[in-house]
Each structure stands twice: as C-alpha cells, then as structure tokens.
C-alpha cells in the first residue's frame, strides 16, 4: 500500500467534491490553488520515494510508477498547480467582464480538479482498462469546461470535442478488447491479463495478427486525443473557444497523457510484432500532422487557434520521434513532451491575458502589448521564441536531436520536417511580432495579471535547454530504453 500514490490520486478527487460544494464562493480560487499545491507536494513525495526505492507497484498491482511516468506525474501536478495560480486572477477578470457567473465558476473549479484526477489516473494506472476508463473520463470532465462561455461557437466546439473524441475513444476500447483477447491466451483470464507490467514481460509471445489489428484501433483511438491529423478536428475549436486555463491544460497535459497511453501500447505492439509496423504507422501519422499543421498555421486569424495548431505540430513531431525509436530519438521525444508542455501552457497564460486586455482573440486586433503591459508582452515573446525552437531553450535541444536522428535514419522525412518547421517559424513569428511590438490597442486590466506562472515555466524550459538534472536524465534514458 503506497500512501504516496493514494494521496496523489485522492487529493484532486476529494478536491473535486469539495469544490462542487463551495466552488461559487469568493475564496474558491484560493481553495483550488491550495488543493493543486497539495497535489504537487504529494507528487513530489512520490518522486522522492521513487528516487529512493526505484519503481513502485501498489494497490493490488493496479497502479504503478516507473521511469516513464514518474516525471510525467510530476509535470502534470506542477502545470496544474501553476495553471490554478494563473486561473485565479484570470477568472476574476472574466467574472468582472461579465462573461462568467458564480455558478459556472463552481462547475469550472470542481471539474478542474476532477480533470487533474483523471489525468493522474491515466498516468499511474497499470491496468490498461483503467487507462481507457480514465481517458474517457478526462474527455467527459472537459466537455462542459469547453462550453463554459455558452456562446454558439463554444457549444459547437464542445459538441465536436465530445463526438469526435467519444468516437475515437470507442475505437481505442475495441483495441483494448483485442489486446485483452491476445493477452488472455498467455496470461489467462482475470485482470492480470490487462496489467501493463505483466504484459510487457510476455510481449514477445502475444499473437501478432491480433496485436496488429489492435494497435491500429488503439492508434486511431488514442491518436484522436493526441490530435494527430486527420483526427485533429476537435483540437483547434476546443482550444479557441474554451477558457484559457482549460486551453492550457488541454494543450499542456491532456495531449501528453494520451500520447503516453499510446506509447505504452506501442511497446507491447513492438514486442509482439517484431517488424517496424507500429513504428511506421506512428512515423506516418506524426509526419503528416507536422506538415498539415504547419500548412494551416499561416492561415489562422485567431491567436488561440494559432497555438492550437502549433500543439498539433509539436505532438506530431513527438509521435514521429517515438516512431523512429532508438535511444536518442526516444530521449528527445520525452524531453520534448516536457518542454512543450511547459512552454505551451506559458504561452496560453500570456495569450489569455493579452486577449483580456484587448477584448478580442483576433491576431490583427491585438497590437503593441509591450507598451501597455511589458510583462505580458515579454512573456508572450519569450514563450513564442521558446516554442519555435530558438536556442538555448529546451525545445531547441529536443528538436535538434530529433532532426539529426531523422537525418541519419530516415533521411526521406527530413526535408518535410525542416520545411514544416521553417514554415511554422515564419508563420508564428510573423504573427506574434506585431502583436507584441507596435502601436498598442490594449487597455488596463481591473486586476493584476498572473505573471509568476509564465516566467516560472519559461525559466524551467531555459534551464532544461542547458542542463538536465541527473535524475531526470536517468529517467529519460531508462524510459527511452523501455520504448526501444
């Protein structure tokens, strides 16, 4: 019985219930922050015990922590904490502008905590069936969050999100059923056959035909939630129409979590099939996502949709990296997951306040942020520069590693990747630069914006670009070896 795991999972679950009762009060945002800080502390304790004792399996083998998910758990807890900190002034301003009522804030706060709970459940679960259940639950908790503003566009975005992700997740369920079927022949009936740790042990004995079909369904299913093209239609709408903290956690955390589930399945598929079948599929989807997203980037007029497509591009790049496999590419993919999460959420924090200042999300109507609020302006600028892969930020390191591995092992893909990254750079930078500099149209905000989260994230990304802490590097290498 590992009390760290219980606390990490139990804290947001209890928090969701508490905020369902008091979420509309004046101090609800502070309670939210407190709960998120507590979750982060529990995650820290979990990380410490993993450093001390190595991988943990607990709660009748249903939950476990190994090198692949330990840093993701810490990342999720950290980003949800900083997003909660950001959401406090942001939501206060939204309420003052009249876009939200106290009742909706109650829904928002309780769903936020429950969402964090479902994400942590996906990360920590050993039972692949529970992984599926928690992913579906994550979708359900965020549907009502996306439609929080009740505008026609947000209702449409939430409906598309629900239907597309629901259908996708149903495919993943079929894949899980097929996986269970293949596993039963070796591990027998009962829930041991769905435990990842057991499956990883026998993965070379799983039936190849069944695993091949199962992996396709799992890729389509979880890939929908990762935002791989052509299953990505829900992503730009959900990011653009939901409140900014929701966009930040969707981009920063949920995409990572879905990709994590996919990678776990890929490990099993690789073991069963031997041939690079799963790798090729992932490389294909990843490359298509990068190219298509880069193409769409230049056509965006809404700043949040712009960065949503940027998320699709980066997740495609990470999927491509995992598809390539090998120690360097997998290491780079894991690093990229971390830094992208931090950077993208920082960008969304800055963008959220920028939109509040100018009252619009259209790029052409936001100008000269630096003149009115240097901190928001600089935050946006630094975040953009970081996400575009400028050294010495962490994104540059991971993209460099991915590109050099591609040049060595998959030279046919390199021109596409380089072209896409170049197009994305031009498009995003060309749109963000006039937003930050130039004549200003912004106004002052009634409450001071949240700035610590933005700069904290950017600072972390900068650090990770230069120096990776030894434990983290060790986990990256271990996990890369696991992914193969």
């Amino acid at each position: 019985m590992s009390w760290e795991i219980v606390t990490v999972l139990g804290m947001p679950l209890v928090g969701g219930g508490v905020l369902a009762l008091v979420g509309h009060r004046r101090r609800a945002a502070e309670v939210n922050i407190a709960l998120s800080v507590a979750t982060f502390v529990a995650a820290g304790a979990l990380v410490a015990s993993v450093i001390r004792d190595g991988p943990i399996i607990a709660l009748w083998d249903q939950f476990f922590v190994d090198s692949l998910n330990v840093f993701l758990v810490a990342l999720t807890a950290f980003v949800s904490m900083t997003t909660a900190m950001f959401s406090r002034p942001y939501m206060r301003i939204e309420k003052d502008h009249g876009r939200l009522t106290a009742g909706r804030l109650r829904l928002y706060h309780s769903m936020y905590q429950l969402f964090v709970f479902t994400m942590l459940a996906v990360l920590l679960a050993n039972n692949l069936g529970i992984v599926w259940v928690a992913t579906e639950a994550a979708t359900l908790t965020t549907v009502l969050l996306v439609s929080l503003y009740r505008t026609p566009a947000s209702l449409e975005a939430a409906w598309k999100y629900f239907i597309l992700c629901g259908v996708g997740i149903a495919q993943a369920l079929f894949g899980t059923i097929l996986l269970y079927m293949a596993a039963q022949r070796i591990l027998g009936t009962g829930f041991e056959a769905l435990l990842w740790t057991h499956l990883a042990g026998v993965r070379s004995e799983l039936e190849p035909t069944v695993m091949a079909i199962a992996f396709v369904f799992l890729l389509v299913g979880y890939g929908t939630k990762v935002g791989l093209v052509p299953l990505h239609n829900w992503l730009p709408d959900a990011h653009a129409e939901g409140p900014t903290p929701v966009s930040a956690v969707l981009s920063g955390l949920l995409l990572n979590v879905a990709l994590y589930a996919l990678v776990r399945c890929k490990v099993l598929a690789d073991g069963a099939l031997g041939a690079p079948y799963a790798s090729r599929l992932m490389m294909g989807f990843g490359l298509v996502s990068v190219v298509v997203a880069a193409f769409f980037l230049s056509r965006q007029r809404d700043v949040k949709r712009l960065f949503a497509y940027s998320s699709i591009e980066h997740m495609g790049l990470i999927t491509f990296a995992f598809g390539m496999g090998g120690p360097i590419a997998s290491f780079a993919g894991l690093l990229h997951m971390t830094v992208h999460s931090l950077t993208k959420s920082a960008i969304f924090f800055a963008v959220g306040h920028a939109a509040q200042k100018t009252g619009t999300q259209l790029i052409e109507n936001i100008r000269g942020l630096i003149n009115v609020s240097p901190t928001v302006g600089w935050g946006l600028m630094l975040g953009t520069v970081a996400i575009l892969g400028v050294p010495p930020f962490g994104v540059f390191a991971s993209e460099f590693l991915i590109l050099t591995t591609a040049m060595r092992e998959q030279p046919w893909a390199t021109p596409f990747l380089l072209a896409a990254l170049g197009v994305a750079f031009a498009a995003v930078f060309g749109k963000v630069q006039p937003m930050v500099f130039g004549e200003s149209t912004a106004s002052r905000l009634p409450h001071p914006p949240a700035l610590v989260p933005v700069f904290a994230h950017v600072a972390l990304v900068l650090t990770l670009g230069i120096y990776i802490p030894p434990h983290l590097a060790h986990w990256y290498r271990e996990a890369a070896r696991l992914i193969g």
Partner: protein
C-alpha cells in the same frame, strides 16, 4: 450446466442472438421516428443482456451474470428512461433527419458489414471463446452505429448512435474474451452514466442558445 443443450445448439442460439443484434442495428439505421429509435436502443440492450446471461450460463462464468445485471439496469431501463424524459422536456419529437437518404444509408451499411466480417475473420479464429464467430457481427454493429452517428443531423440520434456503439463494443468484449475484468466493466458503466448526464446538461445548453437541436447550427466553425 450445459448438459441440457448440446454444444452445437448453444452456438446456434448465440449466433441467433448476435444476428438479432445486427438486425436491430440496421433497424436503428433505417428508423425515422425518434421514439421508436429509443425503443430499438432499449431492445438492443435487452438482447445484449440476454446474450451475456446466456453465455454466462453456458460457460459457468458467474461474473457475466453481474455484467448482464448492470446492462439491464443501465442500458435497458435507465438510459432509455433518461432519453424519453429528455425528449419530453426538450419537446423535440421530430422525425430523424438524415444527411443521405435511407436506402443509400442501408446500402453503405451492407458494405460496412462485409468489411467488418473480413477484418474479423482472422481474429476470430484465434479467440478461445465459444462465441468467437460473433466478433465479426460485433465489429459490424460498431461500424453501423458509427455510420448512424455521422449521417444524422440532429443531436439526439447522434447520441443514440454513440450509445449503440458502446453497446456493440460491450458485445464484442463478451464475444472475444467473455467480458473484461469486473473493474474495467464497472468503470465503463460509470463512464456511460456520467456521459449521459453531461450530455443531458449539454443539450439544454444547446437548446437554450439555438432554440433547436439541429446539428447544422453547430457547423459554423471552419478550419
């Protein structure tokens, strides 16, 4: 327990129930009236429950009885009741509007059935259950529910298509692996329950904003 019926007869009864399930999926695809659609969905849940209970009886797996009970309570009784109430409260007893006409939809459905049978043929040889022949039917029912979702232009039939897809997946689980572990099945049932509650809330939001549940109002966002 199975001495009463020979193995061949057990297999035939299961095949019969699976065929009825497929027939109900097609019937939902061809249905015009929304109230009948909900009743067909309840009938599908009922057939599902019968087949789960029968497989449980024939193979002696007690946990399948529990699954059948959950199916009965959730999919035959609770969900149709919620849907009926929703329809009454939302005052939307219209005909189902389809994006392509019904005979064409049925023909596309046949093509999907052939596709599903082909995909499932190699897999079903490898399952170790008495119901393995019905895996193709389960996949076909999933694809038909999916077709139903994308060819409907009103919100409630889309949701019913989604729920029918969950039904078919559940049947696939029973066919391939005698059901998932209990924990997972409880989780899935919970998801479905929470999902329908969230959807009910969502429908009211849509109706409040648009005064109608026509999906075509929700197609303004592009790119």
């Amino acid at each position: 327990m199975t001495e009463l019926l020979s193995a061949a007869l057990v297999g035939q009864i299961i095949n019969m129930l699976a065929s009825v399930l497929l027939l109900l999926s097609f019937a939902m695809l061809a249905q015009r009236r929304i109230l009948s659609l909900i009743d067909l969905f309840a009938a599908q849940g009922f057939v599902l429950m019968l087949s789960t209970a029968f497989v449980g009886w024939a193979t002696g797996q007690v946990h399948l009885y529990v699954s059948a009970a959950i199916t009965l309570g959730l999919k035959v009784l609770f969900l149709p009741w919620v849907l009926h109430r929703l329809i009454r409260r939302l005052n939307v007893k219209w005909d189902v509007e389809t994006l392509i006409n019904i005979p064409t939809t049925l023909l596309v459905g046949i093509v999907l059935v052939i596709l599903a049978f082909n995909v499932a043929q190699p897999v079903s040889q490898l399952a170790g259950t008495v119901t393995r022949g019905t895996l193709g039917i389960a996949l076909a029912a999933v694809l038909l529910a999916f077709l139903m979702m994308i060819t409907r232009s009103k919100a409630v039939p889309q949701v019913i298509g989604f729920l029918a897809m969950e039904n078919s997946l559940f049947f696939a689980a029973t066919a391939a692996t005698y059901g998932m572990p209990m924990v997972v099945e409880l989780g899935i049932a919970l998801d479905v329950l929470v999902g329908i509650i969230i959807l009910a809330v969502f429908f009211f939001q849509i109706r409040e904003r648009f005064d109608s549940l026509d999906i075509r109002h929700l197609e303004k966002l592009k790119e």
